[in-house]
Symmetry: C2
Subunit: 257 residues, 2 copies
């Protein structure tokens, strides 16, 4: 199995190191990850400036390729230029922090995996649900199990799995749940401060308002100490509204002259 690994916390983070060590047990791993932390960059890609690729060493051994761009850049660069063939799977993570509910939209970790899905390569995004995440070994095992499962079963083109693992001891994990993207959102606050020169600046902060009480939802699963596994795609069409809008007769808003 040829495996491309990326992340959004940067090539030097603890999460990606655990992931790589574990995935090496089942395949040939190529690492292409951001040089610097790229949390919350969403599906940004770099077009206005060029990218550089640097060989990155860890403990005096070659670990992988660092790209001075976004997670989506890393996956594009990894598949198009660094690997000599398309990988069998792309695994992104292990993210330090939850990627459930609305976080899926902002997440660089998910975007790396989604970029692979756009390129018709099956993929997984894997996260541990706490910014000060400690329990990476179990999450790495989960990533390995699902990599093998996808290799066996296949995934529909354009689809990826978004996996969130509670930051708990394995003995505290209640099980694995198949889930959907939850509805919980951030109550954003911009904290207003003044710099030493008297000018205002704003830091984004806030809290996730956890409103997912439906047991099908990713946020419900992790809150109850289950591993959450959601299939995600990149078709954003709202089919319900599409069908409703057929009655709006928007064609009539413009008459060809």
């Amino acid at each position: 199995m040829k495996i491309l690994v990326s992340n959004d916390d940067g090539i030097d983070s603890i999460g990606i190191y655990h992931l790589v060590q574990t995935l090496k047990e089942i395949g040939e791993v190529t690492v292409v990850a951001p040089l610097k932390e790229q949390s919350a960059v969403g599906h940004a890609i770099t077009m206005q400036v060029p990218l550089r690729v640097i060989k990155f060493y860890k403990n005096n051994e070659f670990f992988g390729y660092a790209v001075d761009g976004t997670p989506a850049d890393c996956v594009k660069m990894g598949i198009r230029n660094i690997m000599n063939e398309s990988p069998d799977i792309v695994v992104s993570g292990i993210n330090h922090g939850s990627n459930t509910a609305t976080n899926v939209i902002y997440s660089g970790t998910v975007s790396a995996a989604r970029e692979a899905a756009i390129m018709d390569v099956p993929s997984i995004a894997i996260s541990v649900t706490s910014h000060g995440a400690k329990h990476f070994s179990f999450a790495a095992e989960i990533a390995k199990k699902f990599s093998l499962l996808i290799n066996e079963k296949g995934l529909q083109k354009g689809t990826m799995l978004n996996i969130n693992v509670p930051d708990r001891l394995e003995t505290d994990i209640q099980g694995i749940m198949l889930t959907q993207q939850g509805k919980s959102k951030w109550d954003d606050i911009y904290e207003k401060r003044q710099d030493p020169y008297g000018r205002d600046y704003y830091w984004l902060t806030g809290n996730l308002v956890d409103c997912d009480n439906d047991p099908k939802m990713d946020q419900y699963a992790v809150r109850n100490n289950f591993v959450s596994v959601s299939p995600i795609h990149f078709d954003l069409t709202d089919y319900e509204t599409y069908n409703k809008m057929k009655g709006w007769k928007i064609e009539e808003l413009f008459n060809k002259k």
Copy 2:
């Protein structure tokens, strides 16, 4: 009608100027837009560094607020801190370039509108389908018509309209079509170059492989000189795969100890 306008080409672009002038005919317009171009930043938000807000003047008149961040930052900042109440609608654009098919994922213009949708404010992303776009007046009129229509009919919470207008004279426009997000994708190429010091760098380039021959698709519509209107939401769950995966019995991959 209270209207918040943003974009991804930057507050000083031609597209946003046309949009603002036209929307002023139907409401009170507040502009909060990026200080610099933010194309292809996707749904990035700024968390690692603080944001600054600058009053921006055009032709010696106050035009709006420039934020040194992303389109999604601008909408959050506009709604949370700059306006004293939630706007009735957010309109993002007019983008210089097409936001059909896979571009929807990468687009800063769409992400500004989607951020509004996440915040339960109805929204529109509007683009003219050419990077050297010339025909903004007609697109601005379309944005106005759909703003009025949404004000009248309402939009489901969490849904926005993604509108693409062919860069043509109004007399060449064939009509308006209700569409879905197309499947066309980029065939990426990283052009390898050398800097004056002999080091390699890579520029992202490539072509959109237009494979949308289904008349329901956004890319088909604009190619045939129709205005494309797609309802977009932010639930990325792939329900087809979700139902299929019920048969995978993933629960059995982990036994509680």
